[in-house]
Symmetry: C3
Subunit: 318 residues, 3 copies
């Protein structure tokens, strides 16, 4: 099968989605990220790997949070970073996405970090760039957010190294989550034997069973004896929509409280991709509790992004 993310030597060329990434590539990214943990803890958090390279944060949809993580990662690799919020400029002048991208390539940009509200945007760009340019998908519609998926499995591996003996529950709005799909693919590829999704039917995709997961509609059954609870963010626009009765009602049924968490294994870890809606999908006592690894996820997210960028840049040098 053609995989646009890998070159003919199976080297990482773009990072568009975790779906279809070989286990060896996943492990290479995770292992590389381990080496960057230390860089971020040093007095001088800087390595020269991308010095003189131009990284474009090409954001067709605003996300300060995600942009910040890539900007920090690129700067710690010594790259020159350009932040381009495209919705407010060329696009409004009628230029096509490809014209915008081709212009930036003509300026000798080396790497694109792409965020778009339409699924497939990063793929589309990757298909049209020359060989020496790399594209990283920083979230496209409901489709994928692969660095988030990678940092999630990196976090799990750090806390629960024996991934072949884990039970993981993903809770919440799987239907609209680009994170959930990335997470499921990563967990499955790394050999996690049991991945559960816990959500009401209205927040599950029609083809959920094809993803290789067990489906639960009930927290009591879904969280029973799991090692990892991965909460998903409930987006504001869902809360008062046709899919859910109310935020309060959602919290009562699917919000992660200490009581519900007690159903999981005693040493289970709790994860959330952020930003959190405290009191909607997660209780503050859990978010800030001893089992929460939500902030370590953020820390590891920088190491993961540095690893992906370093591998993509290095792949072209070799």
């Amino acid at each position: 099968m053609y995989n646009p993310q890998l070159d003919q030597h199976k080297k990482l060329k773009h990072l568009l989605t975790i779906e279809g990434l070989p286990k060896a590539t996943l492990l290479q990214i995770l292992d590389t990220a381990e080496t960057f943990i230390g860089v971020n803890e040093r007095e001088v958090k800087k390595v020269p790997l991308l010095r003189g390279k131009t990284v474009c944060n090409l954001f067709f949809e605003n996300s300060t949070r995600t942009r910040t993580t890539f900007e920090i990662a690129a700067k710690r690799l010594s790259a020159d970073v350009l932040n381009l919020n495209v919705s407010t400029s060329s696009q409004s002048k009628g230029e096509t996405i490809l014209d915008t991208v081709n212009n930036l390539i003509a300026m000798h940009s080396d790497m694109f970090v792409v965020r778009h509200n339409q699924s497939g945007a990063a793929h589309f760009i990757a298909q049209h760039v020359p060989d020496h340019i790399s594209v990283i998908n920083a979230g496209d519609g409901r489709h994928a957010h692969p660095t988030q998926g990678l940092l999630d499995v990196f976090t799990i591996r750090r806390y629960k190294p024996d991934m072949h003996n884990l039970r993981v529950a993903i809770v919440g709005d799987v239907l609209h989550s680009r994170v959930a799909r990335s997470e499921i693919h990563a967990l499955t590829t790394l050999g996690v034997p049991e991945v559960r999704v816990v959500a009401p039917n209205t927040l599950l995709p029609a083809d959920v069973h094809k993803l290789g997961v067990q489906v639960f509609h009930d927290m009591q059954a879904g969280l029973k004896d799991v090692d990892v609870v991965m909460m998903l963010r409930l987006q504001n626009e869902r809360m008062s929509g046709a899919l859910l009765p109310s935020a309060q009602e959602y919290f009562k049924t699917y919000g992660l409280t200490p009581e519900k968490l007690a159903l999981a294994k005693p040493d289970a870890i709790v994860m959330h991709p952020g930003p959190m809606n405290r009191g909607v999908e997660i209780d503050s006592r859990v978010a800030d509790g001893a089992q929460s690894v939500i902030l370590p996820q953020v820390t590891y997210g920088i190491a993961i992004r540095m690893a992906v960028m370093a591998l993509l840049a290095g792949g072209h040098n070799a």
Copy 2:
């Protein structure tokens, strides 16, 4: 008294307000700033003191002007700078301030420059960050703007070194000014014997007498024989409000004209924190005149901010 700005060895840990800062600390900042004057006049305006550190300009209220001064200062210290305009991102997604800050800390940020329209925001953040993180208040509501206060006394000391023999008048909207409070505390701490405020009653805080200043409602009396005239900015929203009849009327009574300035000592200096409303609180002949030190204030502002950042970063290295 507990002072969150100093650690147990009386070293500067955060800069939140000038109120309560010991004279020795104030002098240390001013003396350090003297060493950075030269850096800013060199061909290569750059020193490696904050190399590999990440400084976050965390602005919950927009202020390009203030953000620019901190960005320049941080970059000349070789830091990596992140500009985060939070009003348009995470906050609108419902994330709390502390979640935003904790995320940035998890990314190994080293320093926060905080601007917020609510008094106490920087204090609040400082109370919740771990020991190795520093917070600089870049303006919080009506409360404080300590780097502005510091650059003001630095400017005065440069032009009028004998601070124990000075008469200083602060003129204008003391009520709504976070600058005025910072200035008054700095001047008092450094031993200036006579600080006056000159303003209509409607622009003075109720507790003005507690600040250790003399109150004047009349420019003729208030400016008489002073060494320094510090004008305050009259914010647009006050001009047509209930507090003042009109901008024209205000200028007639409290606007600094050459005629009114003639009441001060012949070698008196004129200051303004900017941005100026020419023709409202200050006449252009004064703003651009021989006695104006308004632009030197800006120059010294960079040195002061570099000094504060260098001291905060150094305090943790020692």
Copy 3:
């Protein structure tokens, strides 16, 4: 004649407009740009010429595209870059342009890249800055956009080195184009013997004949045997205005199709300043065709901007 762009030794001091620039200066910029082509093709795209200098992108009108080119150029010269979108900050607080500029000078900025929707804004600033500060006009109203004009002639010289034997056609909205005027002056100064403009009367300035060009209203005659076709962008607001019947009608008459291009010499090159309105002023088959040098223009634009900045900075060092 007084030329504010040159100092008393005829050295480049500001870049405000191509009008009045001596041929020797134009050639010096083009020749310097040749040396930066290689820098942009290296693994490490970085030279230390502006290290420790502060370049301010002072944009009074939003243009991510233009800002990006200057930001890339300055960063590859190792400058510290400040992006200031002034419309949303100081100006709205009532500060004058000169106060804004003088503040940035007081912070020891070294160079201003100015974009403004009013003609003459960059000149105005250049007249008021001290000797060691340089101003680059990045587009002012309908007046000039000199780096675009320079990159255009640089591109022509690269593809058609014998400029004394060229026939160049500039097609489209000359009336509202700051690019067209810059291009015409550059071509004329460099000795191009025949410059044509092709446009309806409603899109030509009244004094078009004074520019030393031949005027055509018809593509068939205007493109006949030319070596270079320079298309201009048709701004959205013109398309449905009183000046033109419709975008479709405009394309039919003045849009560059393969058929119309066939009237030019077989090896003619096609240029466009971007962003393109495909299907309005240019057909995609031409824009992406073998004769198009539109993306090389963008590449050369970085080299030209680096050359201008390096010459301006070097002029003060010497």
